[in-house]
Amino acid sequence: MTNREFASLWLCFKRSVADSREYLNALDAAIGDADHGTNLQRGLDKVAAERAAWGELTLDASCQRIAMTLLSTVGGASGALWGSGLLKSAAVLPNALWCDEATVAAAIGRFVGSVAERGKAVIGDKTMLDVFLPALHELEAGLARGQPFSQVVRQIAADAGNWARDTAALQAKRGRAAYLGPRSVGHIDPGAWSSALWWRCLADSAGGGS
């Protein structure tokens, strides 16, 4: 993955979140506090605004900057999880304009590990991990099978919407939605949905043209 691809991943994510902002807020209104779209958009707008000043940044540096920007503008649960998770990813990414796909997978692995550690959620708790954990699993398995990165990621992007939708059946155990108890069932988790958007953008940016 090149630094250009990395940047376009985040610009794509910014656009997707902006387009889905009302929907993400509505999902959060049902089982939380109606701000997930607003939160992510605020952070990603800042990321996009600062990007002009970056010039040609190495992967580790740009990941670090995105992490810090999200950490200091998003707030809430998603700000802490995305921000501190990306800080861990940055530590894996090289001080270079390019990295191989195994390194991308490792960076995502560190991200997921950090989110799980900080948030103490497991699969089925109705959080962003209900997209990120199966996605990471498929990524690692696909690469282990020798499938091309672009193909694996496109498949994940296709599945991610379903994984997100499947959270509707779950009762929330972590995050604000957990306070609703059984009333949280029947609604899609907003963080799972935005995570699916991120994977779609990864497929678009680094998955090679189709």
Binding site: N25, A29, A30, I31, G32, D33, A34, D35, T38, N39, R42, L71, S72, T73, V74, G75, G76, A77, S78, G79, A80, L81, G83, S84, R118, G119, K173, R174, G175, R176, A178, Y179, L180, G181, R183
Partner: protein, 336 residues
């Protein structure tokens, strides 16, 4: 959505400006931040208290910055916990060399952002301790979930820990008394209407004219059950039964009560609820030593209220009644 605002993006920033203009003798704003700190800091060598969280709960938390309560309050976006860098600014502002206690409400976002901030502050050499308020008995306290929410009971934590810090107690002692309050304080609330998050532009949920949400939090999130409207007496009974059961409240016990409006319910109605709470406690043989009625921890313009009980011993009572002087809470004036 009709609100007295300019742009939705500027709501928090402009509200902080207005608070500082209203209370210049109490509050300053740390430049380039969303931190309100004491205009006249406490003496060196005393423990600092920092609280904070999403905005939309005014007067919490900036309204409690002042003598006998907080040293700094950190404001996030509406209903969004503040970011770690802002919390670090708050910790720095509160630090008088004897360590800083962070009073956090139990929400995933708050916990994680305060955790990150604490790591940063400690690596910058400031000793921190943290307590997590989780007084909402509407939510089941389970090891397998995030546990109970922190709501209006937080004000009693600020007051009692703040009073002890003002007396010059150590960080350990201040943390211990805060934890003691947290171990005892219990709350529960209900909503008659939803509220509208400015950036979302429409009410978070809709309630019919004969419905209420029981067990509501302070972020416009739905409560634990929707049910037919109740009278003030029935509301007091529903909340107090659950709180009393959780506390194991018994006749002869002394308590403080907090009747907290969620934003749109006028003092006329809160006073009626206060009267019913007092009456219920009388009937139960519980001694009501202190009652505060008003808006302490709101949920934007939500109609509804919460009730908090804190069993008192002599020390907690004395600290609760100790003088304080903040924008939102002042007591202990001496006069003829």
């Amino acid at each position: 959505m009709k609100k007295i605002i300019n742009q939705v993006e500027a709501v928090v920033d402009e509200a902080l400006t207005g608070l500082v203009r209203t209370f210049p003798q109490y509050l300053i704003r740390i430049p380039q931040s969303r931190v309100l700190a004491r205009a006249y800091p406490k003496p060196e060598g005393r423990v600092g208290l920092v609280s904070g969280g999403g905005s939309g709960h005014e007067p919490a938390h900036g309204g409690y910055v002042g003598y006998g309560m907080l040293d700094a309050a950190v404001a996030g976006e509406v209903f969004t916990s503040p970011t770690p860098d802002q919390i670090v600014e708050g910790i720095k502002a509160a630090d008088r060399g004897a360590g800083v206690l962070l009073v956090v409400k139990n929400y995933t976002g708050d916990i994680m952002n305060f955790d990150i901030a604490r790591e940063l502050a400690e690596s910058a050499g400031i000793t921190c301790a943290q307590v997590v308020v989780n007084d909402d008995v509407a939510v089941e306290d389970s090891l397998f979930t995030t546990g109970r929410r922190g709501i209006a009971g937080t004000i009693f934590v600020h007051k009692i820990a703040g009073a002890l810090a003002e007396q010059g107690a150590s960080l350990k002692e201040v943390q211990a008394v805060a934890e003691e309050v947290i171990a005892h304080v219990r709350s529960m609330g209900f909503a008659l209407t939803s509220c509208t998050v400015p950036a979302a532009g429409q009410p978070t949920f809709a309630l019919a004219d004969d419905e209420l949400e029981m067990g509501i939090g302070i972020h416009g999130e739905p409560g634990i059950a929707r049910q037919p409207m109740l009278s003030a007496r029935q509301l007091a009974d529903a909340l107090l039964k659950r709180i009393a059961a959780d506390l194991g409240l018994h006749a002869g016990q002394h308590v403080a009560a907090l009747i907290n409006g969620l934003g749109a319910s006028p003092l006329l109605e809160l006073s009626i609820l206060a009267g019913e709470v007092a009456h219920w406690l009388d009937q139960a043989g519980v001694v009501l030593d202190v009652m505060w009625t008003g808006e302490f921890m709101t949920s934007l313009e939500m109609a509804g209220a919460s009730v908090t009980l804190l069993p008192l011993d002599d020390r907690r009572r004395a600290l609760l009644l100790a003088a304080c002087d903040t924008p939102a809470l002042r007591q202990g004036l001496r006069h003829d």
